[in-house]
C-alpha cells in the first residue's frame, strides 16, 4: 500500500466516523422533536381549555358548550381502585415467588418468560377476553369488568418489578431474620418485602400509570357513561375513554375538553414516572444494596 492510499483511507475513515456521529446526533434530535412537539402542544391546548368546570361538571349533551369530565375522573378512580385491588396483591405475590422461593427453578423461568410475553399482548385482546368472560354472562357492560381487565394487565408489570426489587435485598438480611427464629413467611413479609417496599411501590405506580391511560380494553367492558355513576355493576365513564370519544367527535367544544382531559391524564402519568425514576436512580434502596 502506497503512502497516498494510506492517507486517503485514513481520511475516509475519519470522514465516515464524523458522518456517523452526525447521523446519531440527528437521530437523537429527531426522537426528541416529536416528544417536545407533543408535550408542548398538549400543555398549550390543555391549559387553555382547563377550567374548574372540568373537575366539577358532568358532560353536556352533544353540541352544547360547557360541561366537564368530573364523572370520568371519578370513574377512572373507581376502575383503577378495582384494578389495583386485583393486580397489586397477585403481582407482588408472583414477584415474591420468583425472588424468594423459585430462584433458578424451571417453573420460575417459565413464569418470568410468560409474564414478559403477557406484557406484550395487545390490550384490546385482553379487553375482548374479559368481555366474553364477564360481560357476556352478565349481559351488560360494567365497571367491574373494566377494572378486572385493567387489573390483569397490571399483574405482569408488578410481578417483574417486585421481583427485581426483592432480588436487590441482600441475603444477610434474610439470614439474620431466620437466625432469630422468625418463621419464613414472617421474614419474607416483614423483613424482605419491607426492605424492598419503596421499589415495589414504585413498580406498582409504574403499572398504575400504564393502565391509567389504557383505552382499548375499556371500550367493550366499562363502555363509558355520560352521567354520574359509581356502581360497579353499571357502565362507567373513564378519562381515556372520554378523551377518545371526544377526540373523534365533530364538536369543537368537545375537542377542547379532550385536550384538557389529556393534560390531566399526562400530568398524573408524568408524576408517577418521575417518582419511579427518582426512587430508582437516587437509590432509596442504597442501604439495602
Amino acid at each position: 500500500m502506497s503512502v497516498e492510499t494510506f492517507k486517503f483511507r485514513s481520511r475516509l475513515r475519519a470522514l465516515t466516523d464524523g458522518a456517523v456521529t452526525a447521523l446519531a446526533i440527528l437521530a437523537t434530535v429527531l426522537v426528541v422533536a416529536p416528544l417536545v412537539a407533543i408535550f408542548g402542544y398538549l400543555v398549550f391546548k390543555g391549559t387553555n381549555s382547563l377550567s374548574m368546570a372540568f373537575f366539577t361538571h358532568v358532560p353536556k349533551p352533544p353540541g352544547e358548550v360547557g360541561g366537564g369530565m368530573a364523572n370520568a375522573i371519578l370513574g377512572s378512580g373507581i376502575l383503577l381502585a378495582v384494578a389495583s385491588a386485583i393486580g397489586v396483591p397477585i403481582g407482588i405475590g408472583g414477584g415474591i415467588y420468583l425472588a424468594e422461593f423459585g430462584r433458578g427453578t424451571k417453573l420460575a423461568n417459565a413464569v418470568r418468560f410468560t409474564a414478559d410475553v403477557l406484557n406484550g399482548v395487545p390490550s384490546i385482546v385482553m379487553g375482548l377476553a374479559i368481555y366474553s368472560l364477564i360481560v357476556v354472562p352478565q349481559k351488560h357492560f360494567s365497571a367491574l369488568s373494566g377494572g378486572v381487565a385493567l387489573g390483569i394487565m397490571m399483574i405482569p408489570t408488578v410481578c417483574r418489578t417486585s421481583e427485581e426489587m426483592l432480588l436487590m435485598v441482600p441475603h444477610a438480611v434474610r439470614e439474620a431474620a431466620l437466625g432469630l427464629g422468625v418463621p419464613n413467611w414472617r421474614s419474607v413479609l416483614s423483613i424482605t418485602v419491607k426492605t424492598a417496599s419503596p421499589g415495589i411501590i414504585t413498580g406498582c405506580m409504574l403499572a398504575f400509570a400504564r393502565v391509567a391511560g389504557e383505552t382499548a380494553p375499556l371500550i367493550f367492558t366499562a363502555l363509558g357513561n355520560q352521567f354520574w355513576s359509581s356502581s360497579l355493576n353499571q357502565p362507567i365513564a373513564a378519562l381515556p375513554l372520554q378523551i377518545y370519544v371526544y377526540a373523534i367527535s365533530p364538536y369543537d367544544d368537545w375537542h377542547r375538553l379532550a385536550w384538557a382531559g389529556a393534560l390531566v391524564l399526562i400530568v398524573l402519568i408524568v408524576l408517577a414516572v418521575s417518582l419511579v425514576r427518582f426512587v430508582t436512580s437516587r437509590g432509596v434502596l442504597k442501604g439495602a444494596s
Partner: protein, 359 residues
C-alpha cells in the same frame, strides 16, 4: 426493625428440669409448655407451607391468565371458525353482480380478515422502517457518544415517550399530524414519488396507512431504543478496548466491537417493537381511516386488525360479526405471543449473565 416474636425464650432449660425431679403437676405444666412450643413450630410450618403455596398460586395465575384469554377467544370465535375455516385469513369474496371483491360485508355476513391483516402489516412495516434507524442511532448516541451529563435526561425523555398513553398520541395525531400530512407531506410525496404508484392523491383527508405508520413509529421508538441500549451496555468493555487498541476509529469500534456482538439482541428489540406495533389500537384507529379495503397507495384509507375490533365491536349485533371480530383478536393474540416470545428469547440470549444497567 419490626417487632419479632420469639416463642418461648426460656425453653432450653425445660428438658433438663423436667427429668423426674418435679412433682407430677409441674411436669404436666412443663409438658404442655413444650407441646405448645412444638405446636407453634408446626403451626409456623403449616403457615409457611401455606404462604409458599399462596405465592406459587400467584405466580401460576400468570399461566392461568394466558390460558383463560386463549380459551375465551377460541370458544367465542367458534362460529366464525366453523363458517369460514382457515380461508378467513386469505380468501376474499366476489360480488356476483359487480364482480368486485368484497372483504367485509356485515349485512350479508361475509367476512374476510385480508384487509385488516394487510393494514396491520403495512402500517407496522412502515413504522419499523422509520423507527429502527432512529432508535438504533439514539441508542448508539446514548451509549457510546453522549456526554455523561446528557445521558440521564435524554434517557428519561425517551422513557417519558413510552409512558404517554396511546389515546394521547391519537389525539395529537388527529389534530396535528393529520393536518400536517394533508397539507404538506402528502402533496410533496405525490409530486416527487407519485410515479412509483405507492403514493397517489385519491385520498385528500390526510388519514391512511402512512399517517398510522408515522404515529406508530413514534410510539415504538422508545421500546426499541431502550432494549438496544440494554444489549449494547451488556457488551463487555474489553471488546471496545480491543478494537480501539487496533487503531479503529470510534465508528469502527461501534460497528465491529459493539453492534456485531449485540446484533441478536437488537433484532430482539426490533421484534418487541414490532409486537407493540401489531397490537397498537387507539392511535391507529384514530388515524388509519377505518375502511376495510386493500390499496396499493400508502396514502389511502385502510384499517388494521386492532382498529376494526375497537371500531366495530360495540356496534356489532350479529353473532357472526361478533365472532369474526373475536377471531381477528385470536389471530392477533397468537401472532403477538409468538413475536414477543421470540423477541424475549433473543434479548435474553445477549443480556444473560451481563449486569443490566440501562433501563
Amino acid at each position: 426493625m419490626p417487632e419479632i416474636r420469639i416463642s418461648e425464650p426460656q425453653l432450653p432449660q425445660n428438658p433438663a428440669s423436667s427429668e423426674g425431679q418435679q412433682p407430677a403437676g409441674g411436669n404436666t405444666a412443663q409438658v404442655s409448655e413444650v407441646r405448645r412450643f412444638l405446636l407453634s413450630r408446626s403451626n409456623s410450618a403449616v403457615v409457611d407451607g401455606g404462604f409458599h403455596w399462596l405465592m406459587v398460586l400467584c405466580a401460576l395465575s400468570i399461566f392461568g391468565i394466558v390460558a383463560l384469554i386463549a380459551w375465551r377467544l377460541v370458544v367465542s370465535s367458534h362460529l366464525a371458525w366453523s363458517k369460514f375455516g382457515f380461508g378467513f385469513f386469505y380468501k376474499t369474496f366476489t360480488d356476483p353482480d359487480t364482480h368486485q371483491s368484497i372483504f367485509w360485508d356485515p349485512v350479508n355476513a361475509r367476512f374476510s380478515a385480508v384487509p385488516f391483516i394487510f393494514g396491520t402489516l403495512v402500517s407496522s412495516f412502515l413504522a419499523l422502517l422509520m423507527a429502527v434507524p432512529l432508535a438504533v442511532g439514539l441508542a448508539i448516541f446514548l451509549t457510546e457518544m453522549c456526554p455523561r451529563a446528557l445521558r440521564g435526561p435524554l434517557a428519561f425523555l425517551t422513557e417519558l415517550l413510552a409512558a404517554i398513553p396511546s389515546v394521547i398520541y391519537g389525539l395529537w395525531a388527529v389534530f396535528v399530524l393529520v393536518p400536517l400530512m394533508r397539507g404538506h407531506v402528502n402533496p410533496l410525496l405525490v409530486k416527487s414519488l407519485g410515479w412509483t404508484g405507492l403514493f397517489s392523491d385519491e385520498n385528500p383527508t390526510g388519514l391512511g396507512f402512512l399517517t398510522a405508520g408515522v404515529i406508530l413509529a413514534i410510539m415504538i421508538l422508545p421500546i426499541i431504543s431502550s432494549l438496544t441500549r440494554e444489549v449494547m451496555t451488556a457488551v463487555p468493555q474489553s471488546q471496545r478496548e480491543a478494537v480501539l487498541a487496533l487503531g479503529a476509529t470510534r465508528w469502527e469500534m461501534i460497528r465491529m466491537g459493539v453492534l456485531r456482538n449485540a446484533r441478536i439482541g437488537i433484532v430482539g428489540g426490533i421484534m418487541l417493537g414490532l409486537g407493540r406495533a401489531l397490537g397498537e389500537t387507539m392511535a391507529v384507529t384514530m388515524v388509519i381511516g377505518n375502511t376495510p379495503e386493500v390499496h396499493r397507495s400508502l396514502l389511502s384509507n385502510g384499517s388494521s386488525m386492532a382498529a376494526v375490533i375497537a371500531n366495530e365491536f360495540t356496534e356489532a349485533v350479529d353473532d357472526a360479526h361478533l365472532s369474526a371480530l373475536i377471531e381477528i383478536a385470536l389471530a392477533l393474540f397468537v401472532v403477538t405471543i409468538i413475536v414477543n416470545a421470540l423477541a424475549r428469547l433473543l434479548v435474553w440470549a445477549v443480556t444473560r449473565g451481563a449486569p443490566s444497567q440501562a433501563r
